[in-house]
Point group: C2
Amino acid sequence: MRGNKVLDDIKNYEAGLPIELVVREFGIDTKDVVKLASNENPKGTNPNVVKAIIDGANNAHLYPDDSFYELKEALSDKYLVSSKNIIIGAGSDQVLEFISRAFLSEDSKVLMTKVTFAMYEIYAKQMGATIIRTPSYEHKVDEFIASYKKHNPKIVYICTPNNPTGDAISRVDVLKIINAIDKETLVVVDGAYMEYASAKDEKYKIEPKDLIGFSNVIYLGTFSKAYGLGGMRVGYGIANLDLINLISKLRPPFNITTLSLLSAIEALKDEEFVKDSIEIHKNQLKRYEIFAKENKLKYIDSYTNFITYIFDDNIDSTQISNSLLKRGVIIRNLASYGMNAVRITVGTEKQNNRLFEVLIEELSNAK
Amino acid sequence: MRGNKVLDDIKNYEAGLPIELVVREFGIDTKDVVKLASNENPKGTNPNVVKAIIDGANNAHLYPDDSFYELKEALSDKYLVSSKNIIIGAGSDQVLEFISRAFLSEDSKVLMTKVTFAMYEIYAKQMGATIIRTPSYEHKVDEFIASYKKHNPKIVYICTPNNPTGDAISRVDVLKIINAIDKETLVVVDGAYMEYASAKDEKYKIEPKDLIGFSNVIYLGTFSKAYGLGGMRVGYGIANLDLINLISKLRPPFNITTLSLLSAIEALKDEEFVKDSIEIHKNQLKRYEIFAKENKLKYIDSYTNFITYIFDDNIDSTQISNSLLKRGVIIRNLASYGMNAVRITVGTEKQNNRLFEVLIEELSNAK
């Protein structure tokens, strides 16, 4: 059978390779695999959440409260917005899907930076929309405004801090972009890694309440990174009521699991875990910066829980990533993003030791 | 902002009310609420699955293996089809969404019975498709073929056994419908409750391998009912390779959780749990049939884990459902499906005792 025409041009998202695959393909022991490819929290799952999951495991046969009442109330308290302004998704990813399906068509354009989160393009293409990119991978105000004026996109994506590059755009600059944009264009401010940027430099901190006054802006957040719940698939969108009501029409019932719901509720009770995660991360991130300098690698100053190393022409990111993979170290090659670069999640001290050990050898082999 | 035109006409799915809401609204103790509204397995979560969740809780921060390798291998062994013929969804629900988005447009029609699973309509309307229904709530071969010839729908939905009515259509009759339909129309055979129908009468048993030879047929199954994992959101579609590859373009990465994946894998190792669930169910279902006869209620012979009582004009299903709700007993009113009827999940012996006790009183009050 033939599907809708828009599907002809769609590639699937290239997920970070799972540990299981490396074990199967290369015969490496699970315990010897170091996965630094999916920006998972190296601090692991919050012990309070682990306890909540254990206590709730008996209820896996029961559907969750589809109103997500308690979770929305907790997010409402955290962000000082009404619970009615919140939509819950299976990861902020799913909210991106709702947005794309609510606003895009084959006549639409969407605007994003040269290198940013791959799902913006994938969801937009599922609707047949045309992708417009700014010249730089960074979010530059002038480039965004010029490109907006030229192309009149239906959606503008601002990923800050940006994935997979790690740079960020300041609150002031985000507001400049928003203010230059007509109310019929939706601005998505994707703060999946915002906790890391906020902790590093206050001027990059963007909160939902900064944006909720705009009828055409939605803020996205997630439990997958700083809250350490990547495997549970919980994210959210925060926006004015009309926008939330509109995209809620595309939310399927029970779109997060019963255990995901209680995990997110529990995680929100423990901001100390997030602070600790970020503190540990900061120290380990410094090691990656020092490693880069010592080995004459370019890197992008990181406002996230990963770092991006950019290689000179004498090193090939695909070759390096594959060499590491065969030795059980999984990182993300950015060749498919058009960059001769790799994105490495800043892991635990031990994981990072192993990464440095293997990478230094493979860099030397490659030259 | 204005969304795509197709959204104007969309209502959200009316989920079975959660226990939490009844506790909040009516001040009833959680332990006193009896929820028989969402066809959850009264046997609870499989203890082996509970153990697997407890053992895996520490990995909630890690994304699942997005290839779902082990789960697909297990389903492949169970159904004697290749793992390449399988797509995993967040419930079979999500596979319905993929199908709708892959094949429908504002020019499409979809065909289903008068009363069937609400998400067929909701997902089809999200694409702007026109809904065509057969005159009967049962799946009647002649009605399907006549309506197919008249309307030339893009998708034909066969929900067997049917939700929310509980009746089923035989394998022979399903094949009659399939054989009457052109290869450019997709036939969806939704077997969410198939384990119950198969156990009751072999002639209603439909397996993926019966259907996989047809290029335009997909079978859907779920872990939510007989396997007791409603809260974990895992379902699947099984079809020929081209069809699976096509709808896989719409599958988002990590669309089930890490704990959902291990739960489903564990659940598949224990078919005894499913057999026991069905055995307990059979005995309790008999009590619902006897209750109906004693109280002169019409019911639909059930091939599922619920039963549908149809009321005469002197009883109003909305009034009865609301009266029960205020007393902490949640059942599903079928008024929104155009039936003066209620759907009741066959619960545990104790839950059913309470249902009978309250229902008999409210029926007598209503007269």
